[in-house]
Subunit: 353 residues, 2 copies
DNA sequence: AGTTAGCACTCGATAGGCTTGAGTGCTAAC
DNA sequence: GTTAGCACTCAAGCCTATCGAGTGCTAACT
């Protein structure tokens, strides 16, 4: 079961080679490598062992070997070295954000595109899920409707139109906004029932309006799949694993179903770091893909971003780009002053199952 | 230049056949058709004429003929019969919307997906561009920041965080909201400069805040590419024109660049109906595509939706689906009471250049 | 004059056969 | 334990032959 150092070294060489060439790797290729000092025959023997142990597979008799997902797992967990992003790229990344402090959605959208451009894989990002809201505002629209807007420190969280009974004036709505905010803002979801109970008593004169408000509020607090950003899905077509149209189609339609992606990301939200390889994703149409995710923080909210590429992806590079992006986003999205010191990357690379 | 009736009939037969099979059409195939009553030799002569006139092309000597974009243009303008959507599908469509009267973005997203599913092509939709806003609301966040939210009758239009000078209280912001709304809401963009001029005088005591407000307002009024919905891009891979990976990739990355799509749609916003075929789109990577668009109305806003498919698309079907979708969305998005009678489809099919 | 049958010709697509070369696994010698 | 040597495998590339759908032209027919 355990691999001796030589097997390790050979496996690493095979994976490194395969990652860049996408072609089955033969024993001679490895034996010729600098610092290997072993003949192809010896490598063959070792490869044969590695195959038996489940780290390699051969597409057919006279082709080379291809790493299995177990090999990638090992690679990610123990072999790979992650270097941090070179300063030149780091500052390039920073420059993307410096220009615009606009709406959150725009920032996320640019970030997602940058992520994809820098890795040449598909990237995916979910907006920070706010744990608590800063304010609830009722905005008068017509005499019979109003807009209920929940707001966080970063901007509008959600909004919905509600009907209001006749006789409720804008000033009324303003006062009500203040009341709702006072009772509900800043609280954790667990504290809501009690607060709502109390509010219900105080507003017993306006049962109908109150019911509508709470109904909308509840809907707004549900996590929604809506805010998933995807970029660079077309890039996957450039990688040889998707020269088969059927595979390509199946992958791309998975990448289009936002709730599947949302689920994949939400499951990893709060996990600082995660790498899921092929079968571990248990998502049909992504069997040949890996997903690397990082969680990022914006104020009280936690979001997750990830890169989806073939299992044969440049894990090291992807991880360092994600790491950098997380830091840069933190800086860009936090108003100056409330900034925390940047956190050193921890050496946890295991998939948090 | 003019085509006699027989050439018309033959051309129609060729296009019909090619639309369903995607294979070059030969003379025998046409001569065997019901009600044609001509030998293949005669058809060949006619085809030869049609080729000279630019309506047909042959990929190589011994293949059949393929319609050119001119043929499709003729087809769409003069030959095609559009039947309205069968009631069963119509009500299916309606049922999608009946369940949810939620946020605008959700509705648009479902509509786009439905459009793609019903046509088996890619669909694209742009949110209604509001011409005037119903209210401007300033929502206090922290002691030094506030959220400026512009709102239409249908919900939040846009929002952005602004810094507020010390000493500005929530009540202050509320009063200011009312003032801004009174002076700016409901107005056309052309009336803004005058109103802003006047406001500027009145608020001369708060130059800094005023400048920030107007700055944000201006940004929010710019039309943005952000709200483009795309669905079913992966479906294009199923059509034989995109069995070539290079073409597929180029198309898909075009479909991913939202501002290109936004431009295509915005240019057609307000045009009731438009069909653009291949080269008419003048968009690299979409030379083999057609775009059919329809504009829809929601309150004071006008949005546009479209279907992108191969030039060899089922124009009739696509048009009837779009027509139906427009009507259904109208019903679904207008609050009951303010509903207009549904408009009969006009026979304008020309591309509005 | 328009239509059609007949025929030679073109050319992509498909299938079989051959060659090449990268790769393996095994064995025997070092 | 390592390596050289060798027989064997199999995909990929290439050539060739065949097939058939399709055209264009000409001559005969209505």
């Amino acid at each position: 079961m355990d691999l001796d150092e030589r097997k390790f070294k050979i496996l690493q060489a095979i994976i490194d080679d395969y990652i860049t060439t996408a072609m089955p790797v033969g024993s001679r290729t490895i034996s010729r490598k600098e610092g290997m000092g072993l003949s192809s025959a010896t490598i063959r023997n070792e490869m044969s062992d590695l195959e038996e142990l489940g780290y390699l597979a051969s597409p057919h008799t006279s082709a080379g070997r291809v790493p299995s997902w177990r090999a990638y797992r090992l690679y990610v967990d123990q072999i790979m070295r992650v270097s941090s992003l070179p300063p030149s790229e780091y500052s390039l990344l920073r420059s993307i954000f410096s220009s615009r402090m606009g709406q959150m959605e725009d920032v996320l959208s640019s970030a997602t595109q940058a992520l994809s451009a820098m890795t040449d894989y598909t990237s995916v990002m979910i907006a920070p899920q706010m744990r608590s809201i800063a304010r609830i505002q009722l905005v008068p629209l017509t005499s019979s409707t109003a807009l209920m807007v929940t707001v966080t420190d970063e901007g509008v969280h959600k909004d919905s139109v509600i009907a209001v009974p006749a006789g409720v004036t804008p000033d009324h709505l303003y006062a009500l906004s203040n009341l709702l905010t006072e009772r509900l803002a800043g609280k954790d979801a667990s504290e809501y029932p009690a607060a709502i109970q109390e509010l219900s008593r105080e507003m017993s004169g306006q049962r109908e309006l109150f019911a509508r408000l709470m109904d909308s509020l509840q809907k707004q607090m549900e996590p929604d799949a809506h805010s998933v950003h995807v970029a660079g899905a077309a890039r996957m077509l450039a990688h040889p694993e998707y020269s088969d149209l059927k595979k390509a189609r199946s992958l791309l339609s998975t990448l289009e179903t936002q709730d599947k992606l949302a689920k994949l990301l939400l499951r990893r939200t709060g996990v600082e770091f995660s790498v899921a390889i092929g079968p571990e994703l248990s998502e049909e149409g992504m069997q040949d893909c890996s997903l690397v995710t990082v969680s990022y923080r914006v104020g009280s909210g936690v979001g997750t971003m990830g890169v989806i590429g073939p299992t044969r992806m440049h894990y090291g590079r992807v991880i360092s780009v994600l790491e950098a992006m997380k830091n840069v986003m933190n800086e860009a999205l936090l108003p100056p002053g409330s900034r925390k010191e940047s956190v050193k990357r921890k050496e946890e690379k295991h998939e948090g199952k």
